[in-house]
Amino acid sequence: MTDIIHFNQVGYRYPGGKDVLSDVTFSLGRGEMAFVTGSSGAGKTTLLRLIGQLCKPTRGQVMVDDVNLASLKSGDIAPFRQRIGMVFQNFNLLYDRTVFDNVALPLVIRGFAYSDVQRRVRAALDAVGLLNREKSSPLTLSGGEQQRVGIARAIVSKPALILADEPTGNLDPEMSKEVLKLFERFNQVGVSVLIATHALHLIVHMPHRIIHLDNGKIAARRPRTPAMSDLPPFPGEDAHGR
Protein backbone atom coordinates (compact mmCIF):
# COMPACT_ATOMS: atom_id res chain seq x y z
CA MET A 1 0.00 0.00 0.00
CA THR A 2 1.48 3.39 -0.98
CA ASP A 3 1.17 6.24 1.46
CA ILE A 4 -1.17 9.14 0.98
CA ILE A 5 0.21 10.93 4.04
CA HIS A 6 3.75 10.73 5.27
CA PHE A 7 5.13 12.68 8.23
CA ASN A 8 8.89 12.55 8.65
CA GLN A 9 10.18 13.90 11.97
CA VAL A 10 7.72 16.75 11.83
CA GLY A 11 7.75 19.42 14.49
CA TYR A 12 5.66 22.54 14.95
CA ARG A 13 6.25 25.35 17.35
CA TYR A 14 4.11 28.43 17.80
CA PRO A 15 6.12 31.58 17.10
CA GLY A 16 7.97 32.27 20.34
CA GLY A 17 6.01 29.50 22.03
CA LYS A 18 6.34 25.89 23.00
CA ASP A 19 6.54 22.86 20.76
CA VAL A 20 3.08 21.65 19.80
CA LEU A 21 4.42 18.68 17.81
CA SER A 22 7.83 17.06 18.15
CA ASP A 23 9.46 14.49 15.88
CA VAL A 24 6.19 13.07 14.61
CA THR A 25 6.75 10.32 12.07
CA PHE A 26 3.89 8.30 10.69
CA SER A 27 2.21 7.32 7.44
CA LEU A 28 -1.35 6.77 6.29
CA GLY A 29 -1.71 4.32 3.42
CA ARG A 30 -3.98 4.92 0.45
CA GLY A 31 -7.41 3.58 1.27
CA GLU A 32 -6.58 3.35 4.96
CA MET A 33 -8.62 4.75 7.84
CA ALA A 34 -6.90 5.76 11.06
CA PHE A 35 -7.55 7.79 14.18
CA VAL A 36 -5.35 10.34 15.88
CA THR A 37 -6.19 10.45 19.55
CA GLY A 38 -5.00 12.37 22.56
CA SER A 39 -6.22 14.78 25.17
CA SER A 40 -6.88 18.46 24.51
CA GLY A 41 -3.64 20.19 23.56
CA ALA A 42 -1.93 16.94 22.56
CA GLY A 43 -1.43 18.22 19.02
CA LYS A 44 -4.19 16.38 17.11
CA THR A 45 -5.67 19.47 15.51
CA THR A 46 -2.23 20.89 14.69
CA LEU A 47 -1.40 17.65 12.91
CA LEU A 48 -4.50 17.97 10.75
CA ARG A 49 -3.82 21.68 10.23
CA LEU A 50 -0.39 20.81 8.87
CA ILE A 51 -1.94 18.41 6.37
CA GLY A 52 -4.57 20.96 5.35
CA GLN A 53 -1.89 23.65 4.92
CA LEU A 54 -3.40 25.84 7.60
CA CYS A 55 0.07 26.09 9.10
CA LYS A 56 3.55 25.01 8.06
CA PRO A 57 5.86 22.68 9.99
CA THR A 58 8.83 24.30 11.69
CA ARG A 59 10.79 21.05 11.28
CA GLY A 60 10.59 17.90 9.18
CA GLN A 61 8.72 17.05 6.02
CA VAL A 62 5.05 16.44 5.26
CA MET A 63 4.08 14.61 2.07
CA VAL A 64 0.41 14.41 1.07
CA ASP A 65 -0.75 12.60 -2.05
CA ASP A 66 2.83 12.65 -3.39
CA VAL A 67 3.11 16.41 -2.83
CA ASN A 68 5.84 17.78 -0.58
CA LEU A 69 3.86 20.48 1.19
CA ALA A 70 6.98 22.59 1.71
CA SER A 71 7.13 23.05 -2.08
CA LEU A 72 3.62 24.50 -2.31
CA LYS A 73 3.45 28.18 -3.16
CA SER A 74 0.65 30.32 -1.78
CA GLY A 75 -1.25 30.07 -5.08
CA ASP A 76 -1.08 26.26 -4.96
CA ILE A 77 -2.70 25.93 -1.54
CA ALA A 78 -6.32 26.39 -2.66
CA PRO A 79 -6.08 23.77 -5.46
CA PHE A 80 -4.33 21.46 -2.99
CA ARG A 81 -7.15 21.82 -0.45
CA GLN A 82 -9.65 20.99 -3.18
CA ARG A 83 -8.11 17.51 -3.26
CA ILE A 84 -8.93 16.93 0.41
CA GLY A 85 -12.31 16.58 2.07
CA MET A 86 -12.41 18.28 5.46
CA VAL A 87 -14.94 17.72 8.24
CA PHE A 88 -15.04 19.87 11.35
CA GLN A 89 -16.32 19.64 14.90
CA ASN A 90 -18.39 22.80 14.51
CA PHE A 91 -19.61 21.73 11.02
CA ASN A 92 -18.51 25.02 9.36
CA LEU A 93 -21.64 25.25 7.25
CA LEU A 94 -22.93 28.39 5.53
CA TYR A 95 -26.19 29.08 7.30
CA ASP A 96 -27.57 31.55 4.77
CA ARG A 97 -27.58 28.86 2.10
CA THR A 98 -29.52 25.66 1.64
CA VAL A 99 -28.18 22.19 2.34
CA PHE A 100 -27.84 21.69 -1.41
CA ASP A 101 -25.80 24.88 -1.85
CA ASN A 102 -23.52 23.94 1.05
CA VAL A 103 -22.77 20.55 -0.41
CA ALA A 104 -22.40 21.96 -3.92
CA LEU A 105 -19.81 24.53 -2.89
CA PRO A 106 -16.64 22.45 -3.54
CA LEU A 107 -17.93 21.57 -7.01
CA VAL A 108 -18.88 25.18 -7.78
CA ILE A 109 -15.39 26.26 -6.68
CA ARG A 110 -13.86 23.72 -9.02
CA GLY A 111 -16.07 24.83 -11.90
CA PHE A 112 -18.21 21.79 -12.60
CA ALA A 113 -21.18 22.05 -14.96
CA TYR A 114 -24.50 22.59 -13.18
CA SER A 115 -25.85 19.25 -14.41
CA ASP A 116 -22.87 17.44 -12.87
CA VAL A 117 -23.17 19.49 -9.69
CA GLN A 118 -26.82 18.52 -9.29
CA ARG A 119 -26.16 14.85 -9.90
CA ARG A 120 -23.20 14.63 -7.56
CA VAL A 121 -24.72 16.69 -4.77
CA ARG A 122 -27.80 14.48 -4.77
CA ALA A 123 -25.63 11.37 -4.75
CA ALA A 124 -23.64 12.74 -1.78
CA LEU A 125 -26.81 13.70 0.12
CA ASP A 126 -28.26 10.29 -0.63
CA ALA A 127 -25.10 8.69 0.76
CA VAL A 128 -25.52 10.52 4.08
CA GLY A 129 -29.30 10.01 4.15
CA LEU A 130 -30.30 13.65 3.66
CA LEU A 131 -31.63 13.70 0.11
CA ASN A 132 -35.04 14.84 1.35
CA ARG A 133 -33.49 17.87 3.09
CA GLU A 134 -31.66 19.40 0.15
CA LYS A 135 -33.78 22.55 0.13
CA SER A 136 -33.68 23.01 3.91
CA SER A 137 -31.59 25.56 5.74
CA PRO A 138 -28.88 23.96 7.88
CA LEU A 139 -30.37 25.91 10.80
CA THR A 140 -33.41 23.62 10.72
CA LEU A 141 -31.29 20.46 11.05
CA SER A 142 -30.13 18.65 14.17
CA GLY A 143 -26.43 18.54 15.08
CA GLY A 144 -26.07 15.06 13.62
CA GLU A 145 -27.76 16.10 10.40
CA GLN A 146 -25.56 19.17 10.14
CA GLN A 147 -22.50 17.00 10.53
CA ARG A 148 -23.80 14.72 7.81
CA VAL A 149 -24.16 17.77 5.56
CA GLY A 150 -20.52 18.55 6.39
CA ILE A 151 -19.54 15.01 5.45
CA ALA A 152 -21.54 15.18 2.22
CA ARG A 153 -19.68 18.40 1.37
CA ALA A 154 -16.38 16.66 2.10
CA ILE A 155 -17.10 13.67 -0.14
CA VAL A 156 -18.95 15.39 -2.98
CA SER A 157 -15.82 16.09 -4.99
CA LYS A 158 -14.70 12.50 -4.43
CA PRO A 159 -11.43 13.30 -2.69
CA ALA A 160 -8.76 10.67 -2.17
CA LEU A 161 -8.40 11.79 1.46
CA ILE A 162 -10.82 12.94 4.15
CA LEU A 163 -9.58 14.74 7.25
CA ALA A 164 -11.98 15.03 10.17
CA ASP A 165 -11.22 17.08 13.26
CA GLU A 166 -13.34 15.95 16.22
CA PRO A 167 -16.31 15.16 13.96
CA THR A 168 -18.28 13.74 16.88
CA GLY A 169 -17.32 16.47 19.34
CA ASN A 170 -20.78 18.11 19.26
CA LEU A 171 -22.86 14.96 18.86
CA ASP A 172 -24.51 12.52 21.24
CA PRO A 173 -23.09 8.96 21.42
CA GLU A 174 -25.67 7.41 19.07
CA MET A 175 -25.23 10.09 16.46
CA SER A 176 -21.45 9.86 16.89
CA LYS A 177 -21.53 6.15 16.09
CA GLU A 178 -23.61 6.81 12.98
CA VAL A 179 -21.19 9.46 11.79
CA LEU A 180 -18.20 7.17 12.34
CA LYS A 181 -20.01 4.41 10.41
CA LEU A 182 -20.41 6.88 7.54
CA PHE A 183 -16.67 7.44 7.49
CA GLU A 184 -16.15 3.69 7.45
CA ARG A 185 -18.50 3.37 4.47
CA PHE A 186 -16.51 5.89 2.50
CA ASN A 187 -13.29 4.22 3.55
CA GLN A 188 -14.64 0.91 2.25
CA VAL A 189 -14.93 2.40 -1.25
CA GLY A 190 -11.29 3.45 -1.20
CA VAL A 191 -11.19 6.88 0.40
CA SER A 192 -8.38 7.40 2.92
CA VAL A 193 -9.69 8.79 6.21
CA LEU A 194 -7.79 10.38 9.08
CA ILE A 195 -9.90 11.35 12.10
CA ALA A 196 -8.71 13.31 15.10
CA THR A 197 -10.74 12.57 18.19
CA HIS A 198 -10.46 12.46 21.94
CA ALA A 199 -13.46 10.14 22.21
CA LEU A 200 -11.44 6.99 22.60
CA HIS A 201 -14.42 5.02 23.87
CA LEU A 202 -16.15 5.46 20.52
CA ILE A 203 -13.32 4.18 18.38
CA VAL A 204 -11.40 1.71 20.46
CA HIS A 205 -13.50 -1.20 19.22
CA MET A 206 -13.20 -0.18 15.59
CA PRO A 207 -10.65 -2.15 13.60
CA HIS A 208 -8.54 0.84 12.55
CA ARG A 209 -5.11 2.06 13.37
CA ILE A 210 -4.80 4.53 16.24
CA ILE A 211 -1.99 7.01 16.65
CA HIS A 212 -1.99 8.38 20.17
CA LEU A 213 -0.43 11.78 20.77
CA ASP A 214 0.67 13.02 24.15
CA ASN A 215 2.22 16.42 24.61
CA GLY A 216 3.00 16.72 20.89
CA LYS A 217 4.71 13.35 20.56
CA ILE A 218 3.48 9.99 19.39
CA ALA A 219 3.02 8.13 22.66
CA ALA A 220 1.52 4.90 21.32
CA ARG A 221 0.37 3.26 18.12
CA ARG A 222 -2.17 0.53 17.74
CA PRO A 223 -2.10 -1.37 14.45
CA ARG A 224 -5.19 -2.13 12.42
CA THR A 225 -6.70 -5.37 13.61
CA PRO A 226 -10.07 -7.11 13.27
CA ALA A 227 -9.88 -8.65 16.74
CA MET A 228 -9.59 -5.80 19.18
CA SER A 229 -10.72 -7.69 22.26
CA ASP A 230 -7.39 -9.52 22.44
CA LEU A 231 -5.43 -6.31 22.83
CA PRO A 232 -4.46 -4.80 26.19
CA PRO A 233 -6.09 -1.47 27.06
CA PHE A 234 -4.85 1.46 24.99
CA PRO A 235 -3.25 4.43 26.78
CA GLY A 236 -6.07 6.58 28.11
CA GLU A 237 -8.60 3.73 27.83
CA ASP A 238 -10.16 2.13 30.90
CA ALA A 239 -11.10 -1.52 31.26
CA HIS A 240 -14.45 -0.83 29.56
CA GLY A 241 -12.85 0.80 26.58
CA ARG A 242 -13.80 4.30 27.78
Binding site: G52, L54, G75, A78, P79, F80, R81, Q82, R83, I84, M86, F88, N92, L93, L94, D96, L105, P106, V108, I109, R110, G111, F112, A113, Y114, D116, R120, R153, S157, K158, P159, A160, V189, G190, V191
Partner: protein
Protein backbone atom coordinates in the same frame (compact mmCIF):
# COMPACT_ATOMS: atom_id res chain seq x y z
CA UNK B 1 -11.78 4.38 -7.02
CA UNK B 2 -12.25 7.94 -6.03
CA UNK B 3 -9.62 9.01 -8.50
CA UNK B 4 -11.25 6.97 -11.29
CA UNK B 5 -14.64 8.57 -10.70
CA UNK B 6 -13.06 11.98 -10.55
CA UNK B 7 -11.75 11.37 -14.03
CA UNK B 8 -15.25 10.59 -15.30
CA UNK B 9 -16.56 14.08 -14.49
CA UNK B 10 -14.11 16.88 -14.99
CA UNK B 11 -14.48 20.61 -14.39
CA UNK B 12 -15.57 22.56 -17.45
CA UNK B 13 -12.98 23.96 -19.88
CA UNK B 14 -11.49 27.27 -18.77
CA UNK B 15 -13.65 29.72 -20.76
CA UNK B 16 -16.88 27.78 -20.20
CA UNK B 17 -16.09 27.65 -16.50
CA UNK B 18 -15.31 31.36 -16.43
CA UNK B 19 -18.58 32.21 -18.22
CA UNK B 20 -20.61 29.96 -15.92
CA UNK B 21 -18.92 31.35 -12.82
CA UNK B 22 -19.33 35.00 -13.85
CA UNK B 23 -22.97 34.43 -14.76
CA UNK B 24 -23.54 32.77 -11.39
CA UNK B 25 -21.83 35.55 -9.43
CA UNK B 26 -23.53 38.25 -11.53
CA UNK B 27 -26.96 37.09 -10.36
CA UNK B 28 -25.81 35.88 -6.93
CA UNK B 29 -24.43 39.31 -5.99
CA UNK B 30 -27.51 41.04 -7.40
CA UNK B 31 -29.77 38.73 -5.39
CA UNK B 32 -27.71 39.37 -2.26
CA UNK B 33 -28.20 43.14 -2.66
CA UNK B 34 -31.87 42.59 -3.45
CA UNK B 35 -32.35 40.87 -0.10
CA UNK B 36 -31.34 44.12 1.62
CA UNK B 37 -33.16 46.67 -0.57
CA UNK B 38 -33.19 49.59 1.87
CA UNK B 39 -29.47 49.44 2.66
CA UNK B 40 -28.63 48.93 -1.00
CA UNK B 41 -30.79 51.86 -2.13
CA UNK B 42 -29.35 54.18 0.52
CA UNK B 43 -25.79 53.33 -0.47
CA UNK B 44 -26.64 53.76 -4.15
CA UNK B 45 -28.31 57.09 -3.38
CA UNK B 46 -25.20 58.39 -1.58
CA UNK B 47 -23.08 57.34 -4.57
CA UNK B 48 -25.66 58.90 -6.90
CA UNK B 49 -25.52 62.28 -5.14
CA UNK B 50 -21.72 62.18 -5.12
CA UNK B 51 -21.67 61.49 -8.88
CA UNK B 52 -24.51 63.91 -9.67
CA UNK B 53 -22.66 66.94 -8.29
CA UNK B 54 -19.71 66.88 -10.71
CA UNK B 55 -22.00 65.67 -13.50
CA UNK B 56 -24.37 68.61 -12.84
CA UNK B 57 -21.45 71.06 -12.78
CA UNK B 58 -20.26 69.57 -16.06
CA UNK B 59 -23.69 70.25 -17.56
CA UNK B 60 -23.47 73.82 -16.25
CA UNK B 61 -20.06 74.48 -17.85
CA UNK B 62 -21.20 72.90 -21.11
CA UNK B 63 -24.13 75.29 -21.24
CA UNK B 64 -21.95 78.28 -20.33
CA UNK B 65 -19.52 77.28 -23.08
CA UNK B 66 -22.46 77.14 -25.46
CA UNK B 67 -23.43 80.68 -24.48
CA UNK B 68 -19.86 81.96 -24.88
CA UNK B 69 -19.62 80.17 -28.21
CA UNK B 70 -22.67 82.04 -29.46
CA UNK B 71 -21.18 85.28 -28.16
CA UNK B 72 -18.09 84.64 -30.21
CA UNK B 73 -20.05 85.89 -33.23
CA UNK B 74 -19.70 89.37 -31.86
CA UNK B 75 -15.92 89.06 -31.61
CA UNK B 76 -14.31 91.32 -34.18
CA UNK B 77 -10.88 92.57 -35.17
CA UNK B 78 -10.74 96.19 -36.22
CA UNK B 79 -8.09 97.05 -38.82
CA UNK B 80 -7.54 100.82 -39.06
CA UNK B 81 -6.15 101.57 -42.52
CA UNK B 82 -3.57 104.21 -43.37
CA UNK B 83 -4.97 107.44 -44.87
CA UNK B 84 -3.03 106.77 -48.07
CA UNK B 85 -5.08 103.63 -48.81
CA UNK B 86 -7.80 104.35 -51.35
CA UNK B 87 -11.40 103.22 -50.95
CA UNK B 88 -10.99 100.76 -53.84
CA UNK B 89 -7.86 99.25 -52.33
CA UNK B 90 -9.51 99.11 -48.91
CA UNK B 91 -12.50 97.21 -50.30
CA UNK B 92 -10.19 94.87 -52.25
CA UNK B 93 -8.12 94.27 -49.12
CA UNK B 94 -11.28 93.36 -47.21
CA UNK B 95 -12.07 90.72 -49.86
CA UNK B 96 -8.49 89.36 -49.72
CA UNK B 97 -8.65 89.09 -45.96
CA UNK B 98 -12.02 87.31 -46.15
CA UNK B 99 -10.40 84.58 -48.29
CA UNK B 100 -7.75 83.88 -45.62
CA UNK B 101 -8.05 80.76 -43.45
CA UNK B 102 -9.57 81.45 -40.07
CA UNK B 103 -11.66 84.39 -41.28
CA UNK B 104 -15.41 84.13 -41.45
CA UNK B 105 -16.39 87.57 -42.72
CA UNK B 106 -15.07 91.07 -43.35
CA UNK B 107 -16.76 94.43 -43.70
CA UNK B 108 -15.09 97.48 -45.21
CA UNK B 109 -16.08 100.80 -43.68
CA UNK B 110 -14.81 103.77 -45.65
CA UNK B 111 -13.68 107.02 -44.02
CA UNK B 112 -16.97 108.62 -45.08
CA UNK B 113 -19.05 105.81 -43.59
CA UNK B 114 -17.01 106.02 -40.38
CA UNK B 115 -17.68 109.69 -40.14
CA UNK B 116 -21.38 109.25 -40.83
CA UNK B 117 -21.68 106.53 -38.19
CA UNK B 118 -19.77 108.62 -35.67
CA UNK B 119 -21.88 111.63 -36.42
CA UNK B 120 -25.11 109.76 -35.86
CA UNK B 121 -24.03 107.76 -32.81
CA UNK B 122 -21.70 110.10 -30.88
CA UNK B 123 -23.84 113.23 -30.66
CA UNK B 124 -20.85 115.38 -31.67
CA UNK B 125 -22.20 116.16 -35.17
CA UNK B 126 -21.90 119.95 -34.79
CA UNK B 127 -18.33 119.70 -33.55
CA UNK B 128 -17.37 117.62 -36.59
CA UNK B 129 -18.60 120.43 -38.89
CA UNK B 130 -15.82 122.60 -37.52
CA UNK B 131 -13.13 120.19 -38.72
CA UNK B 132 -11.77 120.80 -42.19
CA UNK B 133 -10.71 117.17 -42.80
CA UNK B 134 -12.26 113.86 -41.91
CA UNK B 135 -10.11 112.67 -38.96
CA UNK B 136 -11.47 109.11 -39.00
CA UNK B 137 -9.64 106.28 -40.79
CA UNK B 138 -11.17 103.60 -42.98
CA UNK B 139 -11.73 100.38 -41.07
CA UNK B 140 -12.00 96.71 -42.01
CA UNK B 141 -14.03 94.77 -39.44
CA UNK B 142 -12.86 91.14 -39.45
CA UNK B 143 -14.94 88.34 -37.88
CA UNK B 144 -12.80 85.28 -37.09
CA UNK B 145 -14.12 81.86 -37.93
CA UNK B 146 -16.31 80.22 -35.23
CA UNK B 147 -14.54 77.97 -32.82
CA UNK B 148 -11.17 79.73 -33.13
CA UNK B 149 -9.50 79.87 -29.76
CA UNK B 150 -7.79 82.87 -28.24
CA UNK B 151 -4.32 81.92 -29.47
CA UNK B 152 -5.50 81.40 -33.06
CA UNK B 153 -7.26 84.77 -33.04
CA UNK B 154 -4.09 86.43 -31.73
CA UNK B 155 -2.01 84.83 -34.50
CA UNK B 156 -4.49 86.15 -37.06
CA UNK B 157 -4.29 89.59 -35.45
CA UNK B 158 -0.48 89.51 -35.72
CA UNK B 159 -0.62 88.57 -39.40
CA UNK B 160 -3.09 91.32 -40.22
CA UNK B 161 -1.10 93.90 -38.24
CA UNK B 162 1.86 93.28 -40.53
CA UNK B 163 -0.10 94.17 -43.69
CA UNK B 164 1.37 97.36 -45.23
CA UNK B 165 -2.06 99.00 -45.58
CA UNK B 166 -2.86 98.55 -41.87
CA UNK B 167 -1.98 101.35 -39.51
CA UNK B 168 -3.36 99.76 -36.34
CA UNK B 169 -5.16 96.51 -35.50
CA UNK B 170 -7.23 96.04 -32.37
CA UNK B 171 -9.08 93.18 -30.75
CA UNK B 172 -11.49 94.01 -28.03
CA UNK B 173 -11.43 90.70 -26.23
CA UNK B 174 -11.19 91.63 -22.56
CA UNK B 175 -14.74 90.59 -21.82
CA UNK B 176 -14.23 87.31 -23.64
CA UNK B 177 -10.97 86.66 -21.80
CA UNK B 178 -12.75 87.23 -18.52
CA UNK B 179 -15.49 84.82 -19.51
CA UNK B 180 -12.95 82.19 -20.57
CA UNK B 181 -11.10 82.70 -17.29
CA UNK B 182 -14.30 82.14 -15.33
CA UNK B 183 -15.09 79.05 -17.38
CA UNK B 184 -11.54 77.83 -16.80
CA UNK B 185 -12.00 78.21 -13.04
CA UNK B 186 -15.33 76.40 -13.17
CA UNK B 187 -13.78 73.64 -15.29
CA UNK B 188 -10.97 73.24 -12.78
CA UNK B 189 -13.47 73.30 -9.92
CA UNK B 190 -15.51 70.57 -11.64
CA UNK B 191 -12.34 68.52 -11.99
CA UNK B 192 -11.38 68.97 -8.32
CA UNK B 193 -14.92 68.37 -7.06
CA UNK B 194 -15.19 65.36 -9.37
CA UNK B 195 -11.90 63.99 -8.10
CA UNK B 196 -12.87 64.44 -4.45
CA UNK B 197 -16.33 63.01 -4.92
CA UNK B 198 -14.83 60.15 -6.95
CA UNK B 199 -12.67 59.36 -3.94
CA UNK B 200 -15.79 59.64 -1.78
CA UNK B 201 -17.53 57.06 -4.01
CA UNK B 202 -14.55 54.71 -3.76
CA UNK B 203 -14.51 55.12 0.04
CA UNK B 204 -18.29 54.67 0.32
CA UNK B 205 -18.28 51.48 -1.73
CA UNK B 206 -15.12 50.29 0.01
CA UNK B 207 -16.59 50.82 3.45
CA UNK B 208 -19.83 49.07 2.52
CA UNK B 209 -17.88 46.13 1.13
CA UNK B 210 -15.66 46.10 4.23
CA UNK B 211 -18.72 45.73 6.44
CA UNK B 212 -19.95 42.98 4.15
CA UNK B 213 -16.60 41.20 4.41
CA UNK B 214 -16.66 41.48 8.20
CA UNK B 215 -20.21 40.08 8.27
CA UNK B 216 -19.11 37.19 6.08
CA UNK B 217 -15.78 36.54 7.78
CA UNK B 218 -16.77 33.00 8.82
CA UNK B 219 -18.14 32.21 5.38
CA UNK B 220 -14.88 33.36 3.79
CA UNK B 221 -12.92 31.29 6.27
CA UNK B 222 -14.99 28.19 5.44
CA UNK B 223 -14.55 28.80 1.72
CA UNK B 224 -10.80 29.02 2.13
CA UNK B 225 -10.86 25.81 4.17
CA UNK B 226 -12.53 23.87 1.40
CA UNK B 227 -10.17 25.17 -1.24
CA UNK B 228 -11.72 28.32 -2.68
CA UNK B 229 -9.03 30.44 -4.34
CA UNK B 230 -8.92 34.17 -3.58
CA UNK B 231 -10.31 34.94 -7.05
CA UNK B 232 -13.44 32.91 -6.25
CA UNK B 233 -13.94 34.64 -2.89
CA UNK B 234 -13.14 38.07 -4.31
CA UNK B 235 -15.53 37.87 -7.26
CA UNK B 236 -18.90 38.40 -5.50
CA UNK B 237 -17.52 41.47 -3.71
CA UNK B 238 -16.23 42.94 -6.97
CA UNK B 239 -19.62 42.37 -8.56
CA UNK B 240 -21.23 44.03 -5.54
CA UNK B 241 -19.00 47.06 -6.18
CA UNK B 242 -20.06 46.93 -9.82
CA UNK B 243 -23.77 46.93 -8.88
CA UNK B 244 -23.33 49.77 -6.38
CA UNK B 245 -21.48 51.84 -8.99
CA UNK B 246 -24.09 51.12 -11.66
CA UNK B 247 -27.03 51.86 -9.36
CA UNK B 248 -25.32 55.03 -8.09
CA UNK B 249 -24.62 56.32 -11.59
CA UNK B 250 -28.21 55.59 -12.66
CA UNK B 251 -29.36 57.64 -9.65
CA UNK B 252 -26.92 60.39 -10.69
CA UNK B 253 -28.32 60.38 -14.23
CA UNK B 254 -31.85 60.67 -12.88
CA UNK B 255 -30.81 63.54 -10.57
CA UNK B 256 -29.04 65.45 -13.37
CA UNK B 257 -31.94 64.87 -15.76
CA UNK B 258 -34.43 66.06 -13.15
CA UNK B 259 -32.29 69.13 -12.39
CA UNK B 260 -31.94 69.98 -16.08
CA UNK B 261 -35.68 69.67 -16.64
CA UNK B 262 -36.38 71.80 -13.57
CA UNK B 263 -34.03 74.58 -14.76
CA UNK B 264 -34.82 74.52 -18.47
CA UNK B 265 -38.06 76.54 -18.14
CA UNK B 266 -36.61 79.43 -16.09
CA UNK B 267 -33.42 79.53 -18.19
CA UNK B 268 -35.40 79.76 -21.43
CA UNK B 269 -37.50 82.54 -19.90
CA UNK B 270 -34.30 84.40 -18.98
CA UNK B 271 -32.82 83.83 -22.45
CA UNK B 272 -35.95 85.15 -24.14
CA UNK B 273 -35.60 88.39 -22.16
CA UNK B 274 -32.23 88.84 -23.92
CA UNK B 275 -33.77 87.94 -27.30
CA UNK B 276 -31.90 84.65 -27.28
CA UNK B 277 -33.14 81.24 -28.35
CA UNK B 278 -30.80 79.55 -25.89
CA UNK B 279 -32.07 76.23 -24.48
CA UNK B 280 -30.52 74.38 -21.57
CA UNK B 281 -28.88 71.12 -22.65
CA UNK B 282 -28.64 68.06 -20.43
CA UNK B 283 -26.04 65.30 -20.52
CA UNK B 284 -25.38 64.01 -24.01
CA UNK B 285 -25.66 60.29 -24.78
CA UNK B 286 -21.88 59.99 -24.72
CA UNK B 287 -21.59 61.85 -21.40
CA UNK B 288 -24.35 59.69 -19.92
CA UNK B 289 -22.49 56.55 -20.93
CA UNK B 290 -19.31 58.03 -19.49
CA UNK B 291 -21.12 58.73 -16.21
CA UNK B 292 -22.38 55.13 -16.05
CA UNK B 293 -18.92 53.82 -16.83
CA UNK B 294 -17.32 56.12 -14.24
CA UNK B 295 -19.74 54.92 -11.56
CA UNK B 296 -19.09 51.28 -12.40
CA UNK B 297 -15.31 51.73 -12.48
CA UNK B 298 -15.28 53.67 -9.18
CA UNK B 299 -17.51 51.06 -7.52
CA UNK B 300 -15.28 48.30 -8.80
CA UNK B 301 -12.11 50.09 -7.66
CA UNK B 302 -13.59 50.68 -4.18
CA UNK B 303 -14.51 47.00 -3.91
CA UNK B 304 -11.16 45.82 -5.27
CA UNK B 305 -9.05 47.91 -2.88
CA UNK B 306 -11.11 46.79 0.11
CA UNK B 307 -11.16 43.12 -0.85
CA UNK B 308 -7.42 43.20 -1.59
CA UNK B 309 -6.72 44.76 1.82
CA UNK B 310 -9.03 42.64 3.93
CA UNK B 311 -9.17 39.21 2.31
CA UNK B 312 -5.55 38.37 3.05
CA UNK B 313 -6.18 38.97 6.77
CA UNK B 314 -8.86 36.29 6.93
CA UNK B 315 -7.20 32.94 7.39
CA UNK B 316 -9.08 29.75 8.18
CA UNK B 317 -8.59 28.46 11.70
Amino acid sequence: MAAEETLQVQPLPFFKRLTQEHTRVFFFSLGKLGRNPVGTLLTALVIGVALALPAGMHVLTQNLSKISYSWQDSLQLSLFLKDSVSSERGAALAREIRDRPGVQATRYISREQSLAEFRSQSGFGDALDVLQDNPLPAVIAVTPERGRNKLQVEVLLGELTRLPEVDLAKLDQKWLERLYAILGIIDRAVFIVGLLLGIAVVVTVGNTIRLDIEARREEISVMKLIGAPDSFIRRPFLYTGFWYGLAGSVFALILVLTGTLALSGPSETLASLYDSTFTLSGLSFGSSLLLLLTGIVLGWIGAWITVWRHLAHIQPQ
